[in-house]
């Protein structure tokens, strides 16, 4: 199985996103990572909702289920529970995951079922040609908001943390190394996994992320949260780290090795508050936007609890005997 390559994960269907769409890069990184995992191809199931992002399963040469708008986390829950051996991935858009599907997503997260939700966030409804999504900025003009959006957007990281997801991370379509790293970590996690991926929709919301992700600014405007590493960023000329003063983040410039008071990133705390704080980091003036692993906490999975009960039931009551079940309760015999 270690012989799988990216190519093995490419289906025979022509990929039909707009030329230049960020989805291509994500697909490519995803295929690369899957080939690396040492998991047989037939164990993967990719479940999606509806949207441009959700066409994803058609292009993966794995088992795939393109379902209906917003319901992928619920369907994936059934897929996983019925066969916990499978590696179940959900691919969703910002509208699919956070608008019509918000409830299913958050319930999957709180249960800590091991499904890995990748949300491609282009801050727009792509497939329906350009309406505001729940991550569109306030005052954004779209087809449905010609005078600017009046809806304050969700913070996807904060939302997932509020639901107690045990793995929460963020990456970027065009930063391939980083994305593959995050996907690897997501694959390794056991439990509810939410990954937001900044994705460019060059047709309806072009350059939504460039002010953070463009090569020219990236080093200064993004900070990568790496478990066990100090929280540092900045171009080689101007290295900075982040420490905390109470709940207030403080920037520290440094040269050479990062000073000791810089926060060493620990996403594994049972209390998600530190992660939550970093989900709001960019609310603080001059602070970069974090990407990387916000939270990564071990906990019993939902499916383990569910199957654990099946085992106990079998141990205490014996394997289900249908005839005995039918005859259970008060019975009488007519001769």
């Amino acid at each position: 199985m270690s012989t799988l390559t990216k190519k093995d994960f490419q289906s025979d269907q022509e990929v039909r996103w707009c030329p230049g769409c960020g989805d291509y890069a994500i697909l490519s990184s995803f295929q690369t990572v899957l080939a690396d995992l040492g998991i047989p191809k037939e164990k993967f199931v990719v479940v999606s909702g509806i949207g441009c992002a959700s066409r994803f399963p058609y292009y993966m040469n794995t088992y795939g289920f393109h379902t209906i708008h917003g319901r992928a986390p619920a369907i994936a829950t059934g897929v996983k529970l019925a066969n916990p051996e499978l590696s179940v991935w959900v691919v969703s858009g910002d509208g699919d995951a956070l608008s019509i599907g918000a409830s299913h997503l958050l319930h999957a997260m709180r249960r800590n079922i091991d499904i890995k939700v990748l949300m491609f966030n282009n801050r727009i409804y792509g497939l329906t040609k350009g309406q505001a999504s729940p991550t569109s900025e306030l005052a954004k003009r779209t087809k449905s908001t010609p005078m600017g959006s009046t809806d304050a957007p969700f913070n996807p990281m904060a939302l997932a943390l509020g639901a107690n997801a045990t793995f929460v991370a963020r990456s970027v379509d065009v930063i391939g190394d980083h994305l593959r790293g995050v996907l690897h970590a997501a694959a390794a996690h056991r439990g509810s996994t939410f990954v937001e991926i900044f994705q460019n929709c060059n047709i309806f919301n072009d350059k939504a992320w460039v002010s953070w992700t463009d090569r020219a600014v990236r080093d200064d405007r993004l900070v990568d949260l790496v478990p066990g590493e100090p929280v540092v960023f900045g171009s080689a000329e101007r290295r900075r780290g982040i420490k905390l003063d109470g709940l207030d983040p403080v920037l520290v410039e440094f040269e050479g090795d990062p000073p000791a008071d810089i926060l060493r990133w620990d996403p594994s705390r049972p209390d998600p508050s530190l992660s939550f704080l970093f989900a709001h980091l960019d609310q603080h003036q001059d602070f970069p936007l974090p990407i990387g692993i916000f939270r990564q906490m071990g906990a019993t999975t939902y499916e383990d609890r569910v199957y654990g009960q099946l085992d106990i039931a079998r141990q205490t009551s014996g394997p289900g005997d249908l005839q005995a079940l039918l005859r259970s309760g008060t019975t009488w015999t007519v001769e």
């Binding site: 040469n61 059934g78 529970l81 066969n83 499978l86 299913h104 099946l310 205490t316 008060t330 019975t331």
Partner: protein, 621 residues
């Protein structure tokens, strides 16, 4: 025929059938009393049918009309089809219970009253302007006032519990009286009490004393001039138990899993009157059953479909409002052609409506409540026990034809119970699921030539990796296709697949005459009332038949022919005429509707009355 022989004077011993109703406050334990009496009656070898009637509130104020809870039971030495129209015996624990139920008691019927609960404040709470015991309004009945509260307290005095706890035993005192009246053995109830209160010996003692005291009181006081003797039913030999519709569905689902070799994945969101199915299934984890309480009905059906995709038997159960929410996912199931069992335990609507009451008004929703052409088999159970077999049948069709299938039950079947001859497992239908295992030439939408079902290829098998989804599928390959001609072909293929199921279900049978003046066509829980009414009409020599349609889509192949053999067609339904609409549309036959939308089942008399209007009395057939 289960009705009392009207030529026999009412005070005599021998009755062919008795209907008894227990009525009291929700806190009085009437459902428990009723179910104890039911089991003891079943154990005594009678056929029976029950009808619980809960208040809609969790706990309405004690002593008020909305708080009245009732349980009706009919038993007989003959076959019993309904829990009876008007009771022969009414036990009323307080004025509210009396007021709510006295209108139904048969003239000359026996009325047992808790005499201690007719204080002025009780009468006020019940909204009685005068004391019914004194205002002459009960003169048509044989009234037996019993100081239930005082007598029960006395009976349990030695146990040394407080009055409040003592008063909670008075239903067992009343039950003891009724057991005496019908010469029932109290053994079952004594055993039940022993088990129930195993770790609360005082309560066990108190309740048992109350029970025995009730019996002894009748024995000692000659309160009743006589006891009633109802002959044992002549039923098929075998092992029996009582079963409610919801319990039967739960067992049916687990049985379907055993008989198909699949894991049952049951996903549901609680809703009255379907919740008990979840409660029952959740207890059966040793059968490998996964019961998943979803965040809503959409997630429930979605998870069930996901589980079917993974190779389990996905099932969900709900009531009308929940059905509405499942529509979109059912459409997806139609498109991806995976098995899915959807049970709708119908209740009074529209909207929240009368959530604890029964109705049959989701038939058209089950058939047409989805966008576009989404052909879906629809089945309906006729009696509580029939829910078992019909659930199995629902699952069989789902698995064999790779399709969502709807089973309709209703609040009346859900909570009603009847004796059920426990089947032998080997006599149950067997429909082992076959997963695709042939990698060579695998095509996701290749079909079985006979059933038109596509193959079920389950994740985990190397070489069968494929994609399904809600976009139109290319024939055979299952790839996405927007081609006009392919769409038309697929639309017709899906339609044809469901239509062909008609070859795989029983022909429509007719009870009563096979042709003649009137065919009464029913479906679902009207079975009992129609059967009783049609048999009564036959006894009067009327040329009446009864076709009870258990397969609503597709209809049995011969249904059109059956309809054509009768001059008139009467369709009693607890809706405004939904099956009637379908019969006219599909068979071009004129229909008469008998509709009732009151949250209550038809009485036999209502159906009989209409049959009499539409037929002539002839010679006994």
């Amino acid at each position: 025929m289960g009705t009392e022989d009207t030529s026999t004077p009412r005070h005599e011993h021998a009755l062919s059938s008795v209907t008894i109703r227990f009525a009291g406050d929700s806190g009085d334990g009437m459902q428990l009393t009723g179910s104890q009496f039911t089991t003891s009656t079943a154990l005594a070898g009678h056929d029976l049918a029950t009808l619980p009637d809960f208040p809609a509130e969790i706990r309405a104020p004690a002593g008020t009309l909305p708080g009245v809870s009732g349980f009706q039971l009919r038993f007989s030495g003959d076959e019993v089809f309904t829990p009876g129209d008007d009771p022969d015996v009414l036990v009323a624990m307080n004025p509210a219970a009396l007021r709510a139920n006295i209108g139904d008691l048969k003239p000359g019927g026996l009325l047992i009253l808790n005499d201690d609960s007719f204080k002025q404040k009780d009468l006020d709470k019940a909204g009685c302007e005068s004391d019914p015991r004194e205002d002459g309004s009960l003169s048509a009945f044989r009234v037996i006032p019993v100081e239930l509260t005082r007598l029960t307290r006395a009976a349990v005095e030695e146990v040394g519990i407080d009055n409040r706890s003592a008063d909670r035993c008075k239903n067992f005192f009343a039950l003891g009286m009724v057991y005496w009246l019908f010469e029932r053995s109290m053994e079952y109830t004594e055993e039940w009490l022993a088990k129930k209160f195993a770790d609360r010996p005082l309560l066990y003692d108190a309740n048992r004393r109350a029970l025995l005291a009730g019996w002894a009181y009748c024995e000692a006081t000659e309160l009743f001039a006589e006891r009633y003797v109802v002959p044992r039913a002549k039923v098929e030999p075998g092992l029996y138990r009582n079963i409610s519709g919801n319990a039967a569905i739960s067992l049916g689902l687990v049985a379907a899993a055993h008989r198909s070799g699949l894991r049952l994945f049951y996903a549901s969101y609680p809703i009255t009157p379907a919740s008990d199915v979840l409660h029952e299934v959740a207890k059966l984890k040793n059968h490998g059953v996964i019961s998943f309480q979803a965040e809503d009905e959409i997630a429930a059906v979605a998870a069930a479909l996901g589980a079917s995709y993974s190779g389990a038997l996905g099932a969900t159960c709900t009531s009308g409002p929940g059905m509405a929410l499942k529509a979109e996912t059912m459409g997806l199931a139609t498109m991806v052609e995976l098995p899915l069992v959807i049970v709708d335990v119908q209740r009074g609507g529209p909207s929240t409506g009368l959530p604890t009451k029964t109705e049959q008004a989701d038939l058209l929703q089950a058939l047409y409540g989805r966008p576009s052409e989404t052909p879906t088999p629809v089945l309906a159970a006729s009696t509580p026990a029939d829910c078992f077999g019909m659930t199995l049948e629902t699952a069989r069709i789902a698995v064999k034809y790779m399709t969502p299938v709807v089973l309709l039950s209703d609040g009346y079947l859900a909570n009603g119970a009847e004796p059920w001859k426990v089947p032998e497992v080997e006599d149950l239908p067997s429909f082992p699921a076959k997963f695709v295992d042939e990698v060579d030439g695998f095509l996701p939408y290749a079909r079985n030539a006979e059933t038109l079902a596509r193959g079920w290829a389950v994740p985990g098998v190397a070489g069968l990796e494929h994609r399904v989804g809600g976009l139109e599928k290319q024939e055979t390959t299952g790839n996405v296709s927007y081609a006009p001609a392919n769409h038309e072909r697929m639309i017709r293929l899906r339609e044809e697949k469901i239509a062909r199921i008609a070859d795989d279900i029983p022909l429509q049978t007719v009870d009563g005459v096979e042709s003649g003046e009137l065919l009464v066509v029913g479906w679902g829980s009207t079975y009992g009332a129609i059967t009783a009414a049609v048999r009564a009409a036959r006894a009067e020599g009327r040329a009446v038949g009864h076709a009870h349609v258990k397969y609503l889509n597709p209809f049995p192949k011969n249904l059109g022919e059956v309809l054509s053999r009768f001059e008139k067609i009467l369709v009693p339904e607890m809706n405004l005429g939904q099956l009637a609409l379908l019969l006219r549309a599909k068979f071009g036959v004129p229909t008469e509707s008998l509709t009732k939308v009151q949250g209550k089942p038809f009485t036999e008399a209502e159906v009989s009355g209409r049959i009499r209007e539409l037929t002539t009395r002839g010679t006994k057939a």
